[in-house]
Every structure is written in structure tokens, then in C-alpha cells.
């Protein structure tokens, strides 16, 4: 045998694709599918998962991943593989604002432990937990590539760098 470079299509393709997800989500995913060669629909898998996750309040369910698999003609397990490999996909419900705090070397040296303690005291939750009002959830992440601004965190699509305890309070106060 040889090295294998071919799409992971499944034989039994879902028939009623227009019943999957919502028309808006399908349109968004279609825009991504269009970027790749026709037989490489699966290349849109990561984008599709992000779109579906955003529409579902920030987390994925098996049922949603199955619909993505159906829509992209992929074996469901291949979608699970992607969705469990990357840390930006959530498999449990998260808060309205997902605070991703980096604790890797640069951030740790610059005081990410203190930031974590502060967040923990203020929100009353540790890593992997959601506040009871569903407003915040806290997540420990590996390096997000912003070592120049360590310590840092990501909330939603925004990076917040050079954090201090006061700055953290200001940021959180500014979120609904």
C-alpha cells in the first residue's frame, strides 16, 4: 500500500440534506465548501463545526456533529475526531462568555496563576466550570500565540493581553 491522500467520504450519503441544521447555517457552511475542490467537502469540517457551535450557544452535541457528518458526507467518527482534537470545540454547555486563560510558560511567568486565582474568587468557578447564572465559563488553554502580551486571555473572538487584576475586572464589568 501507499500513503493515502484521498477524502474520507462515506458510501451511504444522507438524502434529505435540506432538513439538516438550519437554512442559515447551511448557507454559511456552503460558503466554506465552495472554497475547496468538489470532492474535498470534508475540508469544511472545522469551519462547519465552528458555525454550528456558535449557533448552539458555544458548544456541540453528538446530534449536531452527526448532522455536520451527514451534511459533509463524512463518517460520523471522522467528525468526532476533529471535534475532540481541537480545544476550541466544546462538548459541554458553556457560559455566555467563555474565558480562555492561557497558563503556558510565558503567561505563567508573567502571573497567569494570579489571574486565575482572581477569576476564581470573583466568579466562584474553577477551570471547566460555568457560573450558576450561565454568564461565564472558565477554560484553561495552551499557548494562543500571544506570548508578547503575556499574561493573556481570550473571550469570544477577542484577545486581551498584558492582563492585570484591575484590567481583568474592567473587562468583565464591560461584558453583559
Amino acid at each position: 500500500m501507499s500513503l493515502r491522500i484521498e477524502p474520507m467520504q462515506r458510501v451511504q450519503k444522507a438524502e434529505n440534506k435540506d432538513e439538516l441544521l438550519t437554512p442559515e447555517i447551511r448557507a454559511d457552511i456552503d460558503a466554506w465548501i465552495a472554497k475547496y475542490p468538489e470532492e474535498w467537502k470534508q475540508s469544511a469540517c472545522m469551519a462547519a463545526l465552528s458555525i454550528v457551535q456558535d449557533a448552539n450557544g458555544g458548544s456541540l452535541t453528538t446530534a449536531l456533529m452527526d448532522q455536520v457528518a451527514d451534511y459533509l458526507d463524512m463518517p460520523p467518527i471522522a467528525v468526532y475526531e476533529v471535534a475532540t482534537f481541537y480545544s476550541m470545540y466544546e462538548h459541554k454547555p458553556v457560559g455566555r462568555h467563555k474565558i480562555c486563560l492561557c497558563t503556558n510558560v510565558s503567561c505563567m511567568i508573567n502571573g497567569s496563576d494570579d489571574i486565575y486565582e482572581h477569576l476564581r474568587t470573583r466568579l466562584g468557578i474553577g477551570f471547566g466550570e460555568v457560573t450558576t447564572d450561565g454568564r461565564f465559563s472558565l477554560k484553561e488553554v495552551e499557548c494562543l500565540g500571544a506570548c508578547g502580551g503575556a499574561p493573556m486571555m481570550q473571550i469570544g473572538h477577542n484577545y486581551y493581553e498584558n492582563l492585570t487584576l484591575t484590567l481583568v475586572d474592567q473587562i468583565l464589568d464591560g461584558l453583559e
Binding site: 501507499s2 468526532y80 482534537f85
Partner: protein
Amino acid sequence: MTDETITIEVDGCSLEAKAGQMLIEVTDAAGISVPRFCYHKHLSIAANCRMCLVEVEKAPKPLPACATPVADGMKVFTRSPLARAAQKGTMEFLLINHPLDCPICDQGGECELQDVAVGYGGDVSRYTEAKRVVRDEDIGPLIATDMTRCIHCTRCVRFGGEIAGLRELGATGRGEHMRIGVFVEQALNSELSGNVIDLCPVGALTSKPFRFAARSWELIQQDGIAPHDGVGSNVRLHVRRNEVMRVVPKENDAVNQTWISDRDRFSYQGLQTDDRLEVPMLRENGRLREADWDEALQAAARILLDTPEGNLGTLVSPSATLEELFLAGKLTRALGSDSIDHRLRQQDFRGDVADPAMPWLGRRFADIENNEATLIVGSWLRKDQPLLNLRVRQSVLNGGVAMAINPADLDFNYDLDVDVVCKPSEMVQELAGVAAALGASTEGIAVTPDEAHKTAARLLQQAGKGMVLLGSAALMHPDYALLRRLAANIARAAGIEWGSTGFGANDTGAWLAGAVPHRRADGSAGQGKDAKSMLDGPSETLLLLGCEPDADFADPQRTAGALGSAKVIALSSYRSDALLAAADVVLPVATFAETSGTLVNLQGDVQSFVAAITPPGEARPAWKVLRVLGNLVDADGFEHNSSTEVRDELLQLRGQIQPDNTLGESAECPQGFLPAGLQRIGGIPMYGLDAITRRAAALQATPDAWDGTLRLNAATAAGHSIEPGGRVRLVQDGLSVELPVSVDERVPDDCVWLPAAVQESAGLGCSFASVSVEKA
């Protein structure tokens, strides 16, 4: 890869190789051992275990031999200090998270990790931190999981996608949290799933029925031939204390490559059951009693001698060995009857006069991979003939097309270019449509080809190599003779082959051995009755070999009736109520593992095997029983001392007979099956094929086993005011059976699906028939 031959140097030896070949293929061919876990010659290259690192001159780092293409003049060192250091380093990493539970691991003693660790591992582990633990998923009744032992080679994952055509296992999570599994816990659906047990280099995936049953070094290995389907997979039986503990594949590229189906792997469970026959039995004053061999054989001989000439009928299993079939035919003919048949499930014998001398698959297995077009008629090939399906799938991957005409919308693990789903009775019109589109004779069927027919015809016509493949549903069809003529017409018009998959392990052998009424073992024509006519009677005496009256015949009810009014001598390995109710003499015989014999597979390979264990109790190999019966009725030519003598006599008798599917002339067979109302779809469930399979507990617990319901689609259910989940009475020819209903959209309109060879259908007649349903 090109055909250009180049020379490389490995450990100072000069080796010839083809440009572009991977290094490990060249070293393997030369017998140079390079340790590996993820590489497998039939799977794609992953290069993720890093165990096969070797030193290559001018390369700055060690390279994985499995993913390094050879180049002219390349100098490779597999045992240099650099290579050794790399291999030992990899080994140390692989062992970091591997539990040291070899003493309780089923893989212990036959484990690739153990073997390689002996050569490349350190004697003391330097790792003192915590090891990871992985939760085990339940992936069905066949495969046990101990995922903590997994080293992430991904052979099982690649097997699913590339060979089985169904990607069910995957690697979820990342880094330390990566794990192999199904994610959503469910039983594997692949009919080839057991092969991951062999592929797994460690003890993560092991055989569930074999779990904790024996250690590998206690087992004695005996070569055998799988006795279920016509592929004749080469297997190894692993035996301990006269018990078959498990079955594993034996490599044979021409037959089964390195794979076997789950049916071949786990059917051994049916060998040791409570209902094995261990002593002969005899009917006396209306009751069966145990008897000794002498008494029972004398009684059987008396029945045979008392039978008026021509009134003996012999019904033999299509999975019986060549020797058994030959001696059964010889005995029957010595008693003045030609009535012997192995086609127990066939309904339509109108085509017998046109039968070729030795029908076969039509193409060799390896050639099927080169098919440019394959038309499957009446077969869920994936489940009926898993390894044959593998070849057809390969042909599709090689750029060929596959098409199917089936009485249900069955899933295949490759795309079908034409997928016709029709009522059983319409299979004739559909096939005739393809014939008409090719300009071939439609055998008098008036049909206008539609788009599907024209597409199929065009694809078949364009194909230089290809075949029409008749499956078990076609063979069991009430208009089989017509379907067969149509298939032959299509094949002739398109310039391709045709053939059929048969029912058992020895269909081709049965023709060779003369186990048909119209063709004797010496090739001369016979005048006997076929299986159906024998049962239609009157047959004064019926001799059964290896078949169960309620499950192995086309029409269980007609069979029960015929057996009830005849004297019955049954050679059987199992007691079943239907058999004991009918038999006058019961002679316990050996199964495939307990006898020597020969099976001829669908491509005509004559494969002999010897017994791996002795039969239970007083059971004896059937060929010996038949030989003694021959002596007792004073027939000539029953002096064999071994099964090889029987086989050699037959092979000499047949001379240079070649498998051939050319049909002779026969009268037209008009379409006879034209039911008005509901039609019953029959067919044999994958694990209902023969007596052994039906008794294999693990196989019966898989999702492939029939679930006991009558299947029909929602529209049909609504049309007949049947509530899904409720119970109905299915009426067929005045007979009826009550059973629950389930909705299955694979079933065409106005059809119900109730397979043959299951207990619920034993009270009915033929499996493709006109039926009606009423609320129970």
C-alpha cells in the same frame, strides 16, 4: 511506482527493488527484520508508531522504513548504533503508558509489543510517573476492549476505512487524551470486524468469546478451511484439549488474503453446544431410543435395501465435504436411484437440462478486483459473501462500477451506479430490461428498457472485464431458471462473465462429486429427482446429510410433510426437534473441525484439510459412515481407507473437468411467479446460513442477527392498517405465523420481509411467495 529496477544496500547486502517501493517492503521481502507496529502490507501507510526507524546514509536523522521510498544507490543500516538508539528510544516511549498486565492479557505470548520489547526494550523502566488509564467501550459481542493497552498504531482505524469500507473506529482526543474507540458507544456493524483482533499489535482489541479462555502457548494450531461460504477462506483452528478455542485467518492471497469474515472466525462456538448428537438413535415402536453403531447401521442398511429401486432420495448439505458428497451419491446410485441433490434451498429446477458440467463463480477472486463493471442480482453481497464483496469493493476502488438489482434497498460499502430496488417478482422484468437494452434475448418477457436499464446496459457493454453475479436471493427465486438465462444472455451480449455465489462452502464441489440428480460423478447423465420433486414425493426413503429440515430447505413445510411420510435416515451433527421428529435412524457425524475432507470453493480451488479435534461422544466422520453403509448394502467400491483415497478416486474419475458456466439448450421458462397482493421477501440471514452458524452464540448477539420481526415499510403498513410495534398474522398458502412488526424503509412497497432459516418462518413455505397479513 514504476517497473524500473534499482539496487540499494541494506546492512551491507545489495538488494534489488522497484523504484518508489517503500524501504520496509524491500527489507521484508529480503527477510531483514525491521520492528514495526503501525505498518501493515494491506493498509495505507501511517508512519505514526516510529518503531521502524533506520539509518539512511546522507539523511540527517533516522527515517521510518515504512514511509521512505527507496532510491538507487541508497545505503541503509537497520542495526547501526544510530538506528538501534532510535528504535530503543521509540520502544521506551511506547512502553511509558502501556500497562504491565501481560500476565492477565489475552495477547500475552503472541503479542507484537512483547516480542519487540524483548529485542528493543530496556530491562528496567526509567518511568516513574503515573500511567494513563482509558475507559473501555462496549463495541459488541465479538471484540473485547482494553484500551489502556492501546499504543495508537491506528491499524484498526485504517482497516475500517480502507478494507471494511465502514469507518467505525477512530482516534478521538489529542495527545495524552487521544484514544481509539467509537465515541458513541455501539456495536460494530462491519461483517469483517473481527479482523481488527488480528491487526491489533497489542492486547487492546481481543476476541470476546475467547476472553480468558486459554493462553496462546497452550494451543495447538491446525490448518483448516472455513466451511460456510463459497470463498473457502484458509483458517487456522487453535485447539486445546480437543476443543476448538478460536479460529484465525491463514494467509492465502488467491483466496482470502489475510482476512476472514466474522462468520468464519466465530462460528466455532457452534461446535460445542448442548445439542450435539453423540450417540446413534433408532426408532422403535414409534419412539427414538439410543442405540449402538452396529445396530443403527444395520437398521439403516435394512431400510435402504428394503427401498424399491428409484424410491430413495438423498438430500445433502451444500457445505458437506467433497468426500461425503461423492460417497452419498455413490451409495444412492448403487441402490438404483439418481435422486441426490444439494440444492436444498432452490425452488426452480426448470433449467436443469441446460446445466453446465461444473458451474462456478465465473471469475477468479483476484480477477474480480479488475472488474470494470459488476451487476449484482439478488444478493446483499456484503453480508452474504463478505470476502467476495471485498473483491467487488476493490474493483470499485480501482475505478470499476457496481450495480445491483435487489428486492430490498440494502446498503453496500461502495457506491452503486445503478441501484434497482423492486418487488421479488419484478426482478425478472428488471433483469429483462437490462437484457433488452443490450439487444439480448429477454426470454419472452415484454419489457421496455427504462433509464436505469439503459445505464446498466451501457456500463456493462463498455466494460472489457466484468460479470453478472447471481446471489442467494436469485438462487432461491421461484423464477431462478429465468433469471439465470437472462443473466447469461446479458453476459454474452456484453462480452463479460456471469456466475452465482452458491449457498454453502462446497456448491462447486457438489457438482464435481455428482451430488445432483442429473449429473453423475463420472460425468454421465442421471435421471433422478431434484430436491423439490423428492420432497413432493412419493419418496419411500430419504437420506439426509448435514441438513436440518426446518431451516436448510426452500420449503420447510413441504419438507416436514415429506419427512413425515417417508423412512428417514439422518446423518447429522446436531439434534433438532424437527429432525428427531422425522428420523427413523439418526447417525451422529462429525463437523468440519472433526473430520478430514475437501471443499471446492467458488473459483474451483480444491482445498483439503485434516481433522483438528475428534468428534464428541460416538460421532464419526460422515464419509466413514457412508463407506460402512456402502459395505452393508453390498455395494462395490466402498473400500477406502482414508478420505484422501475417496477424493483421489473422484478426481481421477472427473479427469480434466474445468469449471464452466456455459448453458446448454433448454425450453423457454415462462415467468411463473406473478403474485397479486403482498409478496414475502425471504433470503437467508447472515448468521442463519447453516447449523453451525445458527448455534454460534456471539454471532447471534450481533446486530446482523435477525431481530424476530416482520419488516415492512411505513406505506405498506398504513395501507394494510398495521400498527408498527403491533403483532400480525402472516398467512402464506393457508399456513400462518404470528409475529411482531417493525417498520423498515429498505423494504419495497407491498412487500414484507421475513427471512428463511429462522424459527419463525419454519411454519411456512417457500421464502419468496404471495402472502397476506391480518391483525393478530
